[in-house]
């Protein structure tokens, strides 16, 4: 609503002596109440409750709950996995999560950028390509994880069969069990699932770069690579920033693929699967809550740091 209109509206008096603007404001709050109520009920209250129970030894259906102060946090930061068999190795889970996040986001970004650059040139079937790229994004992660789990199967999986045929490997590999291949296997699936989505985001960014900039550069004798480095990438920066931050957040929260591939397997937990196991399988609600708070704070720090860096860069 612009100024002149608010001014005009403000002078018109209606029922009950309220100005139109006052009635609009009252309506605004009335319309916000349901949403606020829902968000307080489903997010804010549980969050407060999580913080509270992180200071307790609360167990799911486990009788009396005691206040334990910072004991849970102490156990997390000393990585005390011995206090009970049901405490996961959160340190190793954090390392796994960070490795996964960094490698998969970098690969998705590089491949996604390549695909976006290819798709931004005019060719037949571009629309169909774009539609096809939505499919991996739209199908449930669990479904794609199952498809890949079957392909990775050590006895009759197609990946082993194919690599044996072309003599890349000499005996079947247990991709998801072998310490040197399991993380790479999960990353391959995540890259498969998410790269098209990254490419779509970057493609949208590419399409708002005016073409006359490229024409001017061509007149000045810029080469293909020069154009990419000096025009495309700098102008694509906002799209790149948004893509990277949301992909990184998703990667840090990764749950579905790891749960389908490894369940509760020790050493192959991420932060999210470790927390879910602690709470749902081991019933340690209090300890799980403390882990949740730690993860929440890590994510918050990441978001604040990232947005600050990006804002500083923009100026």
């Amino acid at each position: 609503m612009n100024k002149e209109f608010s001014f005009a509206a403000g002078t018109v008096r209606h029922r009950g002596g309220f100005t139109l603007h006052a009635r609009q404001v009252r309506l605004a709050w009335l319309m916000l109440v349901p949403a606020l109520a829902v968000l307080i009920f489903v997010a804010l209250y549980p969050l407060v409750r999580t913080v509270y129970s992180s200071f307790t030894d609360e167990q799911f259906l486990g009788g009396t709950t005691h206040w334990v102060g910072f004991a849970n946090y102490y156990n997390i930061f000393t990585n005390n996995t011995n206090t009970a068999a049901s405490y996961p190795d959160f340190y190793s889970a954090t390392i796994v999560t960070l490795k996964f996040a960094v490698i998969s986001v970098v690969l998705e970004f590089l491949i996604g950028l390549g695909v976006a650059l290819v798709l931004s040139s005019q060719f037949k079937g571009r629309g169909a390509m774009r539609a096809a790229m939505l499919v991996p994004w739209a199908i449930p992660t669990v479904v794609s994880a199952e498809m890949w789990k079957w392909m990775f199967n050590d006895i009759s999986g197609v990946i082993n069969d194919f690599l044996l045929r072309i003599h890349v490997i000499s005996s079947p590999e247990s991709w998801l069990a072998d310490p040197s291949t399991w993380l790479g296997s999960v990353i391959a699936v995540d890259v498969w699932k998410t790269t098209p989505f990254v490419a779509l985001l970057l493609l949208a960014g590419l399409q708002v770069i005016p073409s006359d900039i490229y024409e001017a550069a061509a007149v000045d004798g810029a080469t293909g690579f020069g154009k990419l480095w000096r025009i495309t990438l700098p102008l694509l920066r906002p799209a790149i920033a948004v893509t990277l931050i949301f992909r990184t957040l998703d990667a840090i929260r990764v749950f579905d693929i790891f749960n389908v591939f490894f369940g509760n397997t020790l050493g192959k937990l991420t932060m999210a699967t470790a927390i879910q196991t602690t709470i749902v399988a081991n019933n340690e609600v209090g300890y799980g809550a403390a882990l949740s708070v730690v993860m929440f704070v890590l994510i918050a720090i990441f978001v604040v740091a990232y947005t600050t860096i990006f804002r500083v860069e923009q100026q």
Partner: protein, 308 residues
Amino acid sequence: MSANVTPTVSVTPPAAGAMTPKLAKGGSRQNPWLRGLFYFLLVVIAFYMLFPFYWAIRSALTPEVDAGNTPVQYFPSDATLSNFGDALTGGVLKQPLINSFIVAGLVTLLSLIVGASAAYALGRIRFRGRTIMMYAILSMTIFPQIAILGALYTQFSNWGLINTRWSLVISYLIFTLPFTIWVLQSFFASLPRELEESAYVDGASPFRTFWAVMLPLAAPGLVTTGLLAFINAWNEYLYAVSFLQTADNYTVPVAIANWPPATSGSAFAQPWDHIMAGTVVVTLPLIVLVLIFQRRLVAGLTSGAVKG
């Protein structure tokens, strides 16, 4: 994330992308070697993207007895549709499909009703506290679901909602509602002012202006956000696998991930031929949906990135 749509989204009604940059394709036009390498990479990427789908369909069409044979057949010699029948009539997927439709449908409906009204307030009305509200909603869109898993788990258990569809309908609002509000408020904000003004001039109340004039105008935005909310709710796994305990309450992702072991006579602990038939069955409707609404989905998913 499970179902992770990036919540950056803001829908703008006019389609962006009239201007297309002409970029040099894959390096140099003159050098045939580079050009060859470029096309080789293209083929490799396309193969990587498409092969898993082919393989799921291949495995679904392969009779049970052949599924475990080595060497693996790349084209099934005696294709059969019986796996699809087994996947559907075996009861493994039937109830989960119904459950997922109910849960995702209700979540979408609730998000649109509650979200559209909040979005109108934020997008079209200036009032004190609006900026804070906007920040609150925006930060809610990146709220990590795992952070409140324990609290929801005990709450739902206390209320007797564990192992019910209601636990999902309630908890899915955490990610669908902020997202819906955010996208729709930018949609409302982008609508032209004239129609709203003339409604007020004609003496319509603020609510009537919203209901009879602005809401119908927002229909395209409602379709896009509704679709995205539905897909996200349909794909959600973390809460579903945590709150649902018995097979009759499973949603589709939980059913697929917890496919019951094969009964006697199979070479496998896991009946991969049936599981693959299941993945094909639940993927097809999504592919149809995506193909029908692809333009809207792309616009909805990407305009946030364009705006920065």
